[in-house]
């Protein structure tokens, strides 16, 4: 793609495009830069640190802050939720997406529309209802409860995405698998799924990043400190009625962000395939 553009745009045009892109992304970059600087300086005016550089805001890594859980417990919780969300979302979405793509069952059209509507539905309005459901199931204030709620809210999008990827796999390949000796499930697992690897990767990344940064659901449905996630932990640093240590907030924020940024840098190619709507490079 890059070479195509190079052929038809002059150097001047390219310079203008890059300048424009730089200006547009500048606010975001500045935000990240502020975050990094603030986590190492006692006071930051604008982007300029005052009072030398210090590591004291990073003390949460080695010491437990007063009246708060250890950052490592919290990180573990976040990891469990993110990975759990990814695995369950991908598994259920790929099965549901396959059925929607391939099998003609009564109510299929209605189900598809429902998926779209559910995805657009603001989850905030469901909070109270979910609270009652979790209480009923004795899952309130548990990681499992939070995980199940997060999975349910992600499934509509996941299913829709997976269906889109399955639609791009040729029917003949599956038919060939069935004739070669596969059952439907075997064809799904051995032939179709390997051919939507980019789709699965894209959904996994999307689910992981969403799960890692999820705030509202864990915040609303857990009360015990030990069940918090990093986002909830972060909120507790800001939400106190006492003086807020922005340096500390910046440090924890950066800590939460780093795994995601690294992850994203390595996998952004796959993520973009969600928006281009399908696999490429397969027959």
């Amino acid at each position: 793609m890059e070479s195509d553009v190079s052929q038809y745009t002059s150097k001047a045009e390219k310079t203008v495009i890059y300048i424009f892109l730089f200006i547009v992304t500048l606010p975001i970059l500045v935000g990240y830069v502020w975050l990094a600087i603030s986590s190492f300086a006692p006071i930051t005016y604008g982007l300029i640190p005052h009072g030398g550089l210090t590591l004291k805001y990073w003390n949460f890594l080695t010491h437990t802050l007063p009246q708060r859980p250890s950052i490592w417990t919290v990180t573990l919780n976040t990891l469990i939720l993110a990975v759990g969300l990814t695995v369950l979302d991908v598994l259920i979405s790929s099965m549901a997406g396959y059925a929607l793509s391939r099998i003609k069952f009564p109510g299929r059209k209605g189900f598809l529309s429902l998926t779209l509507i559910l995805h657009a539905f603001p989850s905030v309005t469901l909070l109270i209802a979910i609270f009652f459901v979790l209480r009923l199931l004795h899952l309130y204030d548990t990681l499992l409860g939070v995980l199940l709620v997060m999975v349910s809210l992600q499934l509509p999008l996941g299913t829709w995405l997976m269906k889109g990827f399955f639609d791009n796999v040729s029917w003949d390949m599956e038919r060939s698998a069935l004739i070669d000796g596969c059952t439907r499930l075997c064809a799904w697992w051995k032939i179709v799924l390997p051919n939507i690897r980019p789709g699965i990767a894209a959904l996994s990344i999307f689910a992981f990043i969403t799960g890692w940064g999820e705030f509202l659901i864990p915040y609303t449905f857990t009360t015990t400190d030990a069940h918090a996630t990093i986002a909830v932990f972060l909120q507790s640093l800001i939400g106190d009625s006492t003086f807020v240590s922005y340096g500390q907030v910046a440090a924890v924020g950066l800590f939460q962000m780093i795994p995601v940024i690294i992850f994203f840098l390595f996998t952004q190619e796959y993520l973009l395939s969600i928006f281009s709507g399908g696999t490429k490079g397969t027959a």
């Binding site: 003949d172 390949m173 069935l178 004739i179 070669d180 000796g181 027959a283």
Partner: protein
Amino acid sequence: MKVTLENLSKHFGNVIAVNDVSLEVKDGEFVAMLGPSGCGKTTTLLLIAGIYRPTAGYIKFGDRVVNHLPPRDRHVGMVFQSYALYPHMTVFQNIAFPLTLQRKPKDEIRRKVVDVATTMQIEGLLDRKPAQLSGGQQQRVALARALIKEPELLLFDEPLSNLDAKLRLQMRSEIKHLQKELSITSIYVTHDQVEAMTMADRVAVFNHGVLQAFSVPDELYNNPRTKFVASFIGSPPMNFIDVELQRRNGEIYLVHPRFSIPLPKDKADRLDQARFGRKAIMGIRPEHMHIVNPEEGDLKVELFIVEPLGREDLVDFMLEGQKLQVLAPAPFPGSPGEVFGVKVEREHLHLFDPETEKSLLRE
């Protein structure tokens, strides 16, 4: 293994894709299912493979009704138009797949894969992925994969359509030779009548989901049951002219504003008496007419254009606004506008009913 279709029908909602089809494929026979796009031939093939379930009727392998048998239990091998190779596996794994699913021992699998790959002349490609192969090579891999489980029935869905003309000719004879050698009952779907005629022992002609004719190629060519079969088989296609059947001096004539041709006695005898005085459609193939001087012909026509075919020339004439095509030895020395005579070979005349389009010369 013989394959029998009894009153087979397949409906998709309101669409009748396959309409009451009955035919029997003998053990070891090569049958082609021929017809234009959308005529139901591929649907019928997929019904036989077990991908689709019949709406009505029966499919029998031997004496056993297999309507509800899933594809994997039918001992069928199939080659698709798109080859349907598995892109994430190597050629070896593709071919081995049916045996891998049967949990056969590794060394047996390896032996059999190499065997069939050698037969298909692709033993050097086993480590490649499908995307690295040419169309012809992919097709051989698809064929190898279909053959490896030693099926009792081979199904082909327009396998040569995606190949270039030269390769197509080569593969045609190779597939036919292979089938004869292995004696596996084979059903071959195609829209190319040349393919069907050259490869098959018998050809089933379909149109709009209905089986029009099922016979040996010669019979379909010389004695077509319907106008559709007559027009579909043979290239260039048969000419059709509206005529009226009249009795004159004890003989039957095909009468047209521009000509009158007597019908030979053996054909006239086959006609139903009630036909006389009524309209009919006359059919005559381009190769069964001769171009002569205007006075010597059965009819006079004006030349429209000459289409050189190399070995012969296809000469287009205009007759009352209808095109009449005649094959003549190359090169044909005529120019547009010139008037010629055309002589019709009486023994190759065909007649069809204008409404039912059935042949009037068959019982």
